[in-house]
Symmetry: D2
Subunit: 275 residues, 4 copies
């Protein structure tokens, strides 16, 4: 079993992704390297003092502050990603993963890569046998995302393509695709060709006007089972005696659109049709 991020009671090794969590839930995510040290406002910790310890050990900085040595979870990574663009929220990513049916062994396409938050979640879920193809036309964005994924040990599962979707999609037999682009309507014909029959397309769009344009295009291109929705996530103050919703919330990230390429009757190869 060589799965990335799979937690077991074992020792922290050189090259592992690690997390130190201090009191009040301050946390630091990094890869263990010989000779390196983590510098925080709570003190310095040498990586060599961590390598070889069992996960879950308690360690101390040179200032005497205590930390727990843990393997980071997916949710920790998503909240840790440096933001160069608007990144997707867990509320949306969870529903996207489920709606795309992305799991072990899946082959999934996304555009654009952006900061790599969704890329991270997709790469995590497809496992070592699956693949994520991630298009991004801005080389700077792609570079930072690649660094993020590499840091999390997930980069081997992703084909980063620094190009515009408009130049064509060379991949075939994609199970699912997700477009986080301002004008998905311009690329859905290319995505359709790349998808397997029954394949799923998802999009995220901030404005109602964009949604209207996309709906029209999806219908023109024979996409079916169209679903438009939005996810609202409301946090509560976790007090047993004064339980109440938080004062403020994120009111909008984007509208989520999911649709299917059913082997619809007009574009089926008749040679495949049963007599």
């Amino acid at each position: 079993m060589s799965e990335v991020l799979k937690p077991t009671i074992q020792t922290a090794n050189r090259g592992d992704l690690a997390q130190l969590v201090a009191e009040r839930e301050r946390h630091f995510i990094f890869t263990l390297e010989s000779g390196a040290s983590l510098q925080t406002h709570l003190g310095i910790i040498a990586h060599d003092d961590l390598i070889g310890l069992p996960w879950g050990s308690r360690v101390q900085s040179h200032l005497g502050k205590f930390f727990a040595l843990l393997q980071p979870q997916l949710d920790d990574l998503l909240r840790d990603i440096p933001r160069q663009t608007q990144i997707m929220y867990p509320k949306d990513i969870g529903y996207v993963l489920l709606s795309l049916g992305v799991g072990p062994g899946s082959v999934v396409l996304e555009a654009g890569t952006g900061s790599g938050a969704l890329t991270t979640a997709l790469a995590y879920m497809v496992g070592s046998q699956g693949q994520v193809i991630s298009y991004e036309r801005n080389p700077k964005f792609s570079k930072v995302a690649q660094e993020n994924l590499k840091r999390y040990g997930l980069d081997q599962r992703v084909s980063f393509k620094v190009q515009d979707l408009a130049a064509g999609i060379s991949e075939k037999n994609i199970q699912a695709a997700f477009l986080d682009l301002p004008d998905p309507e311009n690329y859905i014909h290319l995505v359709r060709q790349a998808l397997i029959p029954g394949g799923i397309l998802g999009c995220l769009l901030p404005t109602t006007n964009q949604v209207s344009v996309l709906i029209t295009a999806l219908k023109q291109h024979n996409f079916e089972k169209l679903e438009v929705s939005e996810i609202l996530h409301r946090y509560y103050k976790p007090s047993a005696t004064r339980l109440r919703p938080a004062d403020k919330m994120v009111a909008h990230t984007g509208f989520l659109i999911f649709t299917r390429k059913y082997a619809n009757f007009s574009d089926l190869d008749t040679s495949k049709t049963q007599a």
Copy 2:
């Protein structure tokens, strides 16, 4: 690559899980068996006429109605599950998967099994290398869930345990656990022992009173990073020229509580503590 449900352009084989989708998106999910036939109000189709066809083929019933032959997606399975109890909604399942960090190779525990909706999603996500341990004290519920999972080809990834959590949790080194029970506060000490350091506990509770009780218990048992929230999912009528939210929505399923077993300082084995 022997992943269950992994779609490729290949032919439908005996034993495969298949889906026939008719116009207006009526769909039927079943396992292909020689000699069997699917009986629908749109006509009869013999399985033997499907076995050997490429996925995506168009087929016809004896009444002349057309269907597309597809491999079902996770979302199709979740909406197909026969309901014997209140089942979890995709809006909640997606966020649960993400928050628990369940992915390829994960070892995760749930209780109770119920109708097996979450079990299905968990089994799908952990892949052939992971494992789901699913407790349910009602033998009738567990039996139906086992049948559902078997039908989807996911039963080998699940250890169904027909017993009350109160009798003890024999498993160790669990990465994440999810309790969909009315009184999770009575079992969290057992779950804590079963979790790895850094392991995640999630719960779903319908009432605010239950949430208050659970918060108190979680704090008593040194769980940390407590998050209470709810997910609202609002569908839109997918019309380009008359885009608007649907008239009605599900207003409440339950409150989601997530928390971590950090290797907190009081219960750490001092032998693991760095000098």
Copy 3:
């Protein structure tokens, strides 16, 4: 003090609007008339047995069922209105009243009248010194609304106009106007002329496309302080020990748009301008 609907401890008189509330909150609203009788599935009650009783009295039907004799509240009337068209919900009406600043003595215009739910609320709030001008081009709708308002004793405060707004608005010096029409953009120039400086225009529109069209028109016509919003109303099951939101809710009625006619600089009469 001759205010309609003003509750005092006094006796129920001929011509008063009355409400009989039975156990389990079944209620019946009607005007007290000599010789009339109320026929319900809980039995018959003669109006003459009610006239002269103090409000709050307990009365009995010929079947021995008990009722409380009460003066109906505004909320009772709004929930009692027979629906011939989609009627506005209390959640929206409350915010509309506040945003339009409708109070005692206000002169307010609405179109269309519809079933008269908003008309009822406006007429209630403007009092005997105010006035509601209510346009409705469908004579059938206007007739039913007039009957409703008459039944509630509020019809003297309303000028019902059975005509299309497009034919012109003869009124001037209107404080506030509310358009519940599918195409308010076609009438806002007329409304603008009818409004006082500082006057308020409100609109209710179900689709995002309509909102976009209206925003463009409002900006063209120099309306200012534009606000677009929606009100969501979520009910809870009122149980002390199992407090939780109701399972379902109304997800959408319409978008509320409010804007002001400030005496904007381009259309001010220069003779009014201070030197």
Copy 4:
């Protein structure tokens, strides 16, 4: 017609409440007084230059900046109130006014006065013939609220009582009452005695725990027609071509509880009962 705040095309007089609105919707609310002047960052304007002008006139500051001279609307006042305590939001106030059935001539009680936002709305709605009785045990809060109401010309409609509700409610025949207090359950028996039959009680409470306690108390005191709900108000960015909800919203102010004092059968004076 001597209604306060009633806009007509007439001239601005000494003692009137006025509003100057500059470009970009900056606005200033004040009472016109001879010899006074308004000092803003957009320049100074002498009140004497405004007195006698028709409402809607355009005026200029000594810096040459233009303003429109308007009568403020209710919504303007509510957003203008200086905040010494958490004040109620328009979303809640609108629904409260409607649910309490507060209109011209109503006699309504509230506690506590707080900053006077709800007091302002109630006083506006009851008109010159109605009355608001407002309890506040903190003299400092009451004083500021009184000054606010006086500034808006609404203070004659309000009886400010600087005392704790626990000391008793001397008023009788109240149509509706609203308690914005942390422990309304301690006062509802007093409110019940003050209400007319059919009278309405409303409460605002921030936490679910408080709601549970109140529900229990209301049932013990025979209140009926219990409704618990919350109002969510979601603003949109008012762009015709990029229409979308605002990024953030107020997620919670409080739960609204409404209930009625029906002349319930147990506490009716039998002398009023029909034979």
